[in-house]
Structures are given as structure tokens and as C-alpha cells.
């Protein structure tokens, strides 16, 4: 078996991470192809190599040199395609890695070098020129995200398999869509024929998912719809317009916006027989029926290929379809994600009863806190549960919101609110490194924070947080959290980390995490909790922020019983 080494470079990052199993599978696939099925196990425990700026390369090189010298690999895979940002690799990084590998191999056969890049390099790009002599000697290759290979391409390399493995490693567009689509809370009044018809408690906002949306829409429309006119109907979802524009650019299609309020001419230009039609939501289907009728008034033979981003009905959770009947004809509606959204008639809407003004879906949402309505809407939806694992230093809170479920259902919304608040409080742009307990709620929020805002999230096991001397306790140095914190310890340019917990009561978790962080010589920039039951607790050396607070420790202990009654009722 032939040995191979992987150098997972992560440009723009400060925190090293353990390489996930999905990425290991990707590297294995590449190694198998380039070593023609003779790939052994990679010769090192894989951790990423963070290069915040090009200059970090020099600090990383001794370890790279040691690794390559010890392994004497037949193949070196340099992953330059999976950084925090889509950036073509700088000359200094490609040149440095290449020179080190060649230098180490001096006197021996140089390893085959495979560089994974986001987009294929141009032949006259300086980094390409560095590798070109090796490509000419069939000792190197570049592999781009789309599976294109330049250089020595082995017969066993399957571009489609590579693309699938890469997508699996990075997470599929559907997975990312579900982690990035924000349910934005508010009192949204919906009109039918100009009159108030019902209210909805939230609207969906896909402004951060345009890439995923366009990929999924292109896939749903299929290659046969290239150059076909695309109609988009999006009066309440401006984000869809941008996703549709990207789709149109990719498919080389004309984009046409439908405005049903212009009864005489809701759109411009002719309607082809099979245009594409993109809408944001298909709920009862009434609006979509109106759109289809408008198209058919212009061309009675029109049968659009319909993609709805969201649907409240259908057979599958994602990438499925439903049938909509319009004037006796059946139309298939492909949807990307199935969702649910309650509707309140004017008599049953609490906010209408309280006289709260209605919002439009297009109103900006720039407040950095959570409204009472938003917080309790989420809690009512997720439910309450008896508090588990009550610390010994305080009485039980009795019932507490099911925060894990709140985060599961609202991760992107909470992540956005959290980012807005932190951006306001920590004015200077800098590291956004979250340290939190390794628990399900935090994990879901971490997914949203990393997908939406490029945060680094370090999840520390509860056993380490609760340990009496966490920093000194014996730990497995290959644990993800240890690798991450250890990589930051060795830097001098980390402004501090953000300590996060779902909710704060006694402050014990904060203190436990602080002990862990202290052990690595790092500073706490601030504390953050979604919900603070003990807002008067201020014995911290760094500021504490929360999205919502209520003093639950100084009352009767039965503070949530009315809420439970409301849910039951």
C-alpha cells in the first residue's frame, strides 16, 4: 500500500480543527484515484492547518516538513478548496508547500502532488506557474470543485464521484438551506383582495441562502430549461428575486418579474409554452393559481415548470413535489423544503387583540434583541419541560422552556439575532470564536452560526466543564475541543473568545468554561446566553449579553405555570 499525506489548509482561519469523517472520505477518494487503488491510511491524525494570513505559512511549515519527511508519502493532497472563504490560493502558499515537499524529497522520488482548488486555475496564474513543471512531468495535478482535473489525471478518477463527496463533506445545499433559512418572527398581517384575511407569526427569509437556493432551483429546473424565460413572483420575498437572478444568469435565461397588482399587464414580454416559474411559498396555492392564470391569459397553452422554495404540503421533507389543480388542469409544483406555518384568523390572533400594529414581510429586521412576542412564540411552540440537572447551589426553576427544541426550530433566527447583538456590542470586527458546552442545542446553533456568519465554535464536553480543575484534568489531546483551543493558545493575535450557554441561571457553566479557557491562556471577550434567568448576576470580569432575560431565581419558583396553562389551553 502507498502512503499519502493530506494538508488541509484553511485560509482565513485561526482555529485548527479535527478533519471530519466526511472530509476524510473525500481525501480517501482522491488518494484511491491517484494511487490507483493502492492508498493506505493517511499517515497522521488529520487536523486542519489554519492560515489566517499568508504570513502564517512560515509558522506552519516546520510541522508540514516533519510530517512529509516522516511519512515519505507517494502522494500529498493539498486541500486549498475548503477555506472559510472562496479564495484562489495565494502564490506564497502554493509555492511554499511545493518547495517544502520537494526539498524534503530531495534524493528520493518526489511525491505526486494533488492540489484541490475551488475553481480551476488559469495557466498563467502565478501559483499555476509554480506547479507547471511538475504537471509537465506528470507529477502534479489540480482538481477543481466541479471535478475538472488539470495535470496527470488517473483513469480511475470519477469527476461525478468527487463532486458528490465534496458536497457531502461541505454539506449538501438542502442541508445548508435548512440551517440558513431564517424564520423571522413578528405580527404579519396578510390581506386577500385588499382586506385583512389572517395573520402569520413568522415569515421566511432566505437572504443568506441565495447560493444554495440557486443551486437547488437550477437542479430542480433541469438542464433542459437553459435559455428558457424565467418568471418569478416574489412580492413578499425580495431574497427570492436575487436567487432567481442568479439562477437566470447561470442558465443564460431572461428573468421576468410578475406583479399581480398590475392587473392589465402583470409582466412584460411574451409567455413561452414552457417557461420556468419560481415562487417563494406554496401554502393553500391560491396565489400560485392566480399567477398561473395570469400566464395562461397571455398564452393559453402555457404549462410552466414550477419551483416553489417552500411548501406547506407535500410528500417529502425536502426536494419533493405536490400537485396543484388550476381550472381543471393539474400542475406539478416542485418544492425545496416543506415547512409549517400557523394562520390566525382576525378573531384568534392575540396580537390583533392587543392592538399590535402589523408588519410587512419586507420591513427591515435590524433590532438586535428579541421581542417578547418572538421569544414566547418560540417557547410556546417548543414547549416546557421540568428542569434537569439542577445545580446544587440553587433551587430548581421547576418548569423551564425546552431550549434545545427552541434552538432546533429557530437556529438561524437566533444565530442572526446573536450576531446582530455581538456586532453591536463588540464594535471592532475581529475573531468570532464561541466556546460552549458540547450539547445538542449548542451544536444546532453552532451549525447556523458557522453556516451563516463564519463563526468558529468550540464545543467543550460537560465532563470537562464540570471537572474541578478542568484545565489540569487529563484529556485526550486528540479531542476536537482540545485541538481547537490549543491552536489558539499558540497565537498572539486572538482578541478573546465568547463564552456561550443556552441559558444562564447560577453562572456555573460560565465559570466552568472560563476555567477551561484560562487553562489555555486565552481571554474571555464576553459571555452570551440566549436566555438569562438571573440577570442580576454580574460578578463577571467580562460583559454578559443575552437575547432575553427574566428574573426567575427570586420569585416563587412557579413562574412558568401560567405559560404551561396557556400552552395546554
Amino acid at each position: 500500500m502507498a502512503a499519502y499525506v493530506v494538508l488541509p489548509i484553511r485560509l482565513g482561519k485561526k482555529t485548527a480543527e479535527r478533519v471530519s469523517e466526511r472530509f476524510r472520505n473525500l481525501y480517501r477518494l482522491v488518494a484511491d484515484a491517484f494511487l490507483e487503488g493502492q492508498a493506505g491510511a493517511p499517515l497522521a491524525t488529520l487536523t486542519t492547518i489554519p492560515l489566517f494570513v499568508e504570513g502564517d505559512m512560515a509558522a506552519a511549515v516546520p510541522a508540514v516538513r516533519q510530517l512529509v519527511a516522516a511519512a515519505r508519502p507517494a502522494l500529498v493532497i493539498v486541500d486549498l478548496a475548503n477555506s472559510a472563504r472562496t479564495l484562489l490560493p495565494p502564490y506564497s502558499v502554493v509555492s511554499g508547500i511545493t518547495q517544502v515537499c520537494q526539498e524534503v524529497a530531495a534524493g528520493n522520488p518526489a511525491p505526486l502532488m494533488v492540489y484541490l482548488v475551488a475553481s480551476m486555475l488559469w495557466e498563467r496564474d502565478p501559483p499555476y506557474e509554480v506547479v507547471k513543471p511538475m504537471i509537465d512531468a506528470e507529477r502534479a495535478a489540480f482538481v477543481a470543485d466541479n471535478g475538472e482535473v488539470r495535470g496527470s489525471r488517473p483513469a480511475g478518477f470519477d469527476a461525478a464521484k468527487y463532486v458528490r463527496a465534496l458536497q457531502d463533506a461541505r454539506r449538501s445545499p438542502s442541508w445548508l438551506l435548512s440551517r440558513k433559512l431564517v424564520r423571522r418572527f413578528g405580527h404579519f398581517k396578510r390581506n386577500v383582495a385588499g382586506a385583512h384575511d389572517h395573520c402569520v407569526p413568522f415569515f421566511f427569509d432566505g437572504i443568506k441562502c441565495r447560493k444554495e437556493l440557486s443551486e437547488l432551483i437550477v437542479k430542480a429546473l433541469g438542464p433542459e430549461h437553459r435559455n428558457e424565460k424565467i418568471f418569478v413572483h416574489d412580492p413578499d420575498s425580495p431574497w427570492l428575486h436575487e436567487a432567481a437572478r442568479i439562477t437566470a444568469l447561470k442558465l443564460r435565461s431572461e428573468l421576468c418579474v410578475i406583479d399581480l397588482s398590475r392587473e392589465e399587464s402583470p409582466f412584460e414580454g411574451p409567455v413561452p409554452d414552457v417557461p420556468s416559474l419560481i415562487v417563494a411559498m406554496c401554502d393553500t396555492g391560491e396565489t400560485l393559481r392566480s399567477v398561473i392564470r395570469a400566464l395562461r391569459r397571455a398564452n393559453s397553452g402555457c404549462r410552466p415548470k414550477i419551483v416553489s422554495v417552500l411548501s406547506t404540503e407535500g410528500t417529502g421533507r425536502e426536494s419533493s413535489s405536490r400537485v396543484l389543480e388550476v381550472d381543471g388542469d393539474q400542475h406539478v409544483v416542485h418544492y425545496l423544503l416543506k415547512v409549517s406555518r400557523p394562520r390566525m384568523t382576525p378573531g384568534s390572533c392575540r396580537l390583533c387583540g392587543l392592538g399590535v400594529p402589523g408588519l410587512s414581510a419586507t420591513d427591515p429586521d435590524n433590532s438586535s434583541g428579541l421581542s417578547t412576542h418572538a421569544m414566547w412564540s418560540m417557547i410556546f411552540e417548543a414547549g416546557l419541560k421540568a428542569e434537569a440537572d439542577v445545580p446544587r447551589n440553587r433551587p430548581s426553576l421547576g418548569l423551564v422552556p425546552d431550549f434545545t427544541e427552541v434552538i432546533h426550530r429557530n437556529g438561524p433566527y437566533l444565530a442572526r439575532k446573536m450576531d446582530q447583538l455581538l456586532t453591536r456590542e463588540i464594535r471592532k470586527p475581529g475573531d468570532r470564536i464561541i466556546v460552549c458546552p458540547d450539547e445538542r442545542g449548542a451544536t444546532e446553533l453552532a451549525d447556523a452560526l458557522t453556516s451563516l456568519f463564519k463563526y468558529d465554535v468550540i464545543r467543550v464536553p460537560r465532563t470537562v466543564i464540570d471537572g474541578p480543575q478542568a484545565a489540569a484534568a487529563p484529556v485526550d489531546r486528540l479531542d476536537e475541543w482540545y485541538i481547537q483551543l490549543d491552536s489558539l493558545r499558540r497565537r498572539s493575535d486572538v482578541a478573546g473568545v465568547i463564552v456561550f450557554d443556552e441559558f444562564n441561571a447560577s453562572g456555573a457553566t460560565r465559570l466552568g468554561l472560563k476555567r477551561v479557557i484560562d487553562g489555555f491562556g486565552l481571554r474571555v471577550q464576553c459571555y452570551f446566553s440566549l436566555f438569562d434567568f438571573n440577570p442580576t448576576l454580574r460578578n463577571l470580569e467580562a460583559p454578559a449579553h443575552t437575547l432575553y432575560s427574566i428574573d426567575a431565581l427570586h420569585g416563587s419558583g412557579a413562574w412558568l405555570e401560567p405559560a404551561q396553562a396557556a400552552i395546554d389551553g
Partner: protein, 448 residues
């Protein structure tokens, strides 16, 4: 005044000299600067008050506006006053909309500290919307960028980015500025538009994304270059994509008697994508020359494949004399005898670093000396120029200190890779404040 003409007027009021530069039709940076240079060359020298009279202007571009910002800031530091007459009437409405849409007032104030209202001549205050002016629908849709950094949306998204200002003291780490710019330019919509409109020339590979190349090799490198300039407090960037349709609209606005088709035919050269970067730091050529004079190493080894030859023409603006053009090789010696204009040219050589002070690098000196093969800085501007010219068939210009430098693909007769023209400004012209890099790329035909 005929379209495209300029008029300069000098006068003295009491004990203060005033100069008015009136442009008509197109307000392009070269023409504007030529008029300003004439004012400085006059016997009275730099005027106490300068008025940019754009009343008859029907078209301008971000590069011109960036020059206005830089000059006004430089004059303010010298205690001079500068004013602006806005494009007038219905004919100037499109340009006023352009100024708003490209967020020129905010960009101007952020850097100069002067309220835009105070910059505009009081005679034109009636155009301010707060005072009831320009209430008709704008020609350009509003940008809907928000706190989340959404760049552009709505119907004219492809026209690209308005002025963006980065204040270096707002950042703990200046590298974040390059990342921010990269994030904006890596937006999927931006990449898609650039992929659609830009194409490689001379049989260059179609596999590489044009959008990713602009983001990585032009925007990121230009920003990384700017943050390394000593003394820089601000960086600004702006861009415009002038598609055939937009170019035709401009043409028809300046020559209304022509049909739209005629206008489109006559304005093919106007179809371009232009991006401008400016910082108020020390002149890049001067910084490099200072390092050379200090005897510091500014060169790093690079592969022979990147050897580059420049066909250089030096022009003295004062005498309008062109020195003989000659070839310069990228391995030309850089020493204490290197003239200032060659030092400026050397900033785009492969392997020559623009970061002689090490501001953008945090390499421990020990590591740097033990890992000499890694000290491979100095490819940023070289990669930028090569991408703009060789990949996209465009051109790059630099305005800094007392120099204007343009870089284009060499003619086949010149036995060089690039032809470079360096204009040495007249002694009477005050030094340009900061560094302005403008990249102009032609568009793929038939993309509308």
C-alpha cells in the same frame, strides 16, 4: 459649451484666488486632472478656492469622483477650500442620481470630514431631497444593502458596488478588511454577473471562474496591497459595470439626436467593468524606494516562468517630452541609484514586495530567516496586473505621488509583455494624496 469640453476660469476675489473648472458632457478623470494641472501651472499657483463645476456634466464615473475626494482632502489639509456645483436641471438628473446611488456624499464626508451639504455650492442646495429637490423616481434603484452585508439587490444589481469606505482604525486586524472585501465580492450574485460578463481572452481557459478571479486576484490583492501602505487611514473602493445597454443610454443622453442603435454602435469602447481602489497612505513607489535606499531586501526569488518584460515610455508632463522608450526586465537591479519612477514600476514586478515594512505579515523574524523559501511575498500586484491584462484583456492605471502610470498589453512590435507609460507630473502639480489603482476590463460581447 460643446459636449466633452472643459473650461477653466481663474479669478481673484479680494485677497483670495478662486478657480473654477467647468466640465461639459463627460466628466472623466483624465480630462478633469488636466484642467486642474493647468490651474496649478498658472502664475497664481494653487487657488485658495477651487470649484468643480459639473453643472453641464451628463456623465461621470467613480474614478473621477475618487479623484475629487482625494484632491479635496489634500487641499483641506493645506487649508484650501473646495466646492462642487452639481449637474444641473433635468439634463443633470441622471448624474445626480448616480452620485446618490453610488453613495458619493457619504464616501466624501467619511474621508474629508466635510459635510457634503457644505461641499456643494449653496446655489445647488435646492437639489437636496431634504430640501424638496429631485423628488421624481430615481433612474437607479436603491441599494438594499443591510447590516448583513448584502451587497446589491434589485434591478440594477449588475451595475456593481457603490463607494465603500474602510477606516483602518476601526479594525484590530487590518487583514479583516481584505476578508470583508472578499466576502462582498464572493457573493453568489456578484460572481454570477462577473462570470456572465467577463471572459478570458486569447484562448484563456474558460474553466476558471471569472468572478472568482476578480475577487481573488484583483479585489483581494488590491485591498491587501492598500492595507500595507504606511500612513493609510482610509481605503475606498467603487466599481461600475457598463453594459451595452447602459452605455447606449449614456450615449443617447449626451447626443440625443442619435438613435439608440447608433449610440450603441458608437459606444462599444464604453462597455467595460471598472473597479477603483484608493488609500490615503504613502505613495507606493516612494515606500519601495525608501526601502531600497535603506538597503533592505525587497526581492524574493521566483520562477523564471514569471520573468516579465516591460516596454517603458517616460513622459515629462511639464515639457510634454517623451524619453526614448526602452525595455525593462523584471530582474533589473534595484539599488540606491534606482530612479523613483523605476521604483514605482518595480512595485508590479514579480517577487518585489510592496510590504517592506512587514505590516501585512506576522512572521516571526526567526522563522522568516529559517524558512527563506517561504518568504515569497511580492506577487500581489504582479498577479493583479497579469490577471487584468493577460486574462481579461484589460488595463491597469496607478495614480500616486507625482506619477501617473498605465499598464497595458504590449504591442506585437515591442518584444515585451506589457507597455507601461509613466507620466511625471509637472513640478507645479501638488503630489497626489495616496494611491489610486484603477482596473478596467472589457466585457464579453452579446451578454444582454
Amino acid at each position: 459649451m460643446p459636449s466633452g469640453a472643459a473650461k477653466m476660469q481663474l479669478q481673484t476675489k479680494t485677497d483670495r484666488t478662486q478657480a473654477i473648472v467647468a466640465l461639459s458632457g463627460l466628466a472623466l478623470v483624465g480630462q478633469l486632472e488636466a484642467e486642474i494641472d493647468k490651474i496649478h501651472a498658472a502664475e497664481s499657483g494653487e487657488p485658495d478656492e477651487l470649484v468643480f463645476d459639473f453643472a453641464d456634466v451628463s456623465f461621470t464615473e467613480p474614478t473621477t469622483l475618487q479623484y475629487v475626494i482625494s484632491l479635496t482632502l489634500a487641499r483641506a489639509r493645506r487649508g484650501r477650500t473646495t466646492k462642487l456645483r452639481l449637474p444641473a436641471g433635468e439634463a443633470g438628473a441622471r448624474v445626480r442620481d448616480f452620485l446618490r446611488r453610488w453613495r458619493f456624499p457619504g464616501a466624501f464626508s467619511a474621508v474629508t470630514g466635510i459635510r457634503f451639504f457644505d461641499f456643494v455650492d449653496p446655489l445647488d442646495h435646492h437639489y437636496f431631497r431634504g430640501l424638496g429637490g429631485d423628488r421624481r423616481p430615481t433612474r437607479y434603484s436603491d441599494a438594499t444593502g443591510d447590516a448583513e452585508g448584502v451587497s446589491e439587490s434589485s434591478t440594477d444589481a449588475p451595475r456593481f458596488f457603490p463607494f465603500t469606505t474602510w477606516k483602518l482604525t476601526d479594525y484590530l486586524e487590518s487583514a479583516r478588511i481584505s476578508d470583508e472585501a472578499l466576502d462582498t465580492w464572493s457573493d453568489e450574485l456578484v460572481l454570477s454577473v462577473l462570470d456572465r460578463h467577463l471572459q478570458p481572452v486569447n484562448g484563456g481557459s474558460e474553466l476558471a471562474s471569472s468572478g472568482v478571479y476578480v475577487a481573488s486576484r484583483i479585489v483581494f490583492e488590491a485591498m491587501t496591497n492598500a492595507i500595507r501602505h504606511p500612513g493609510a487611514n482610509f481605503i475606498q473602493s467603487s466599481s461600475v459595470l457598463r453594459t451595452p445597454r447602459a452605455a447606449a443610454a449614456v450615449a443617447s443622453s449626451r447626443t440625443p439626436q442619435k438613435s439608440a442603435a447608433d449610440a450603441a454602435m458608437s459606444t462599444q469602447p464604453d462597455e467595460h467593468f471598472t473597479v477603483t481602489f484608493w488609500d490615503d497612505g504613502t505613495s507606493m513607489g516612494k515606500t519601495l524606494q525608501a526601502a531600497i535606499l535603506d538597503g533592505r531586501s525587497v526581492r524574493h526569488e521566483y520562477p523564471a516562468a514569471l520573468d516579465t518584460r516591460y516596454w517603458l515610455t517616460l513622459v515629462q508632463a511639464e515639457s510634454e517630452v517623451s524619453h526614448d522608450s526602452h525595455l525593462i526586465d523584471s530582474r533589473a537591479e534595484l539599488d540606491r541609484g534606482t530612479p523613483a519612477h523605476i521604483a514605482l514600476l518595480a512595485t508590479i514586478f514579480p517577487g518585489v514586495t510592496s510590504d517592506v515594512s512587514g505590516r501585512g505579515f506576522r512572521v516571526h523574524p526567526e522563522l522568516q530567516s529559517s524558512e527563506p523559501v517561504l518568504a515569497t511575498q511580492g506577487m500581489g500586484l504582479f498577479a493583479l496586473v497579469r490577471t487584468a491584462i493577460d486574462r481579461f484583456g484589460g488595463a491597469v492605471t496607478f495614480r500616486t505621488g507625482t506619477y501617473f502610470m498605465s499598464v497595458k498589453r504590449a504591442r506585437s512590435t515591442q518584444d515585451a509583455d506589457y507597455r507601461v507609460k509613466i507620466i511625471v507630473k509637472a513640478k507645479s502639480t501638488p503630489e497626489f494624496l495616496g494611491n489610486m489603482i484603477t482596473i478596467r476590463l472589457p466585457l464579453r460581447r452579446g451578454t444582454e
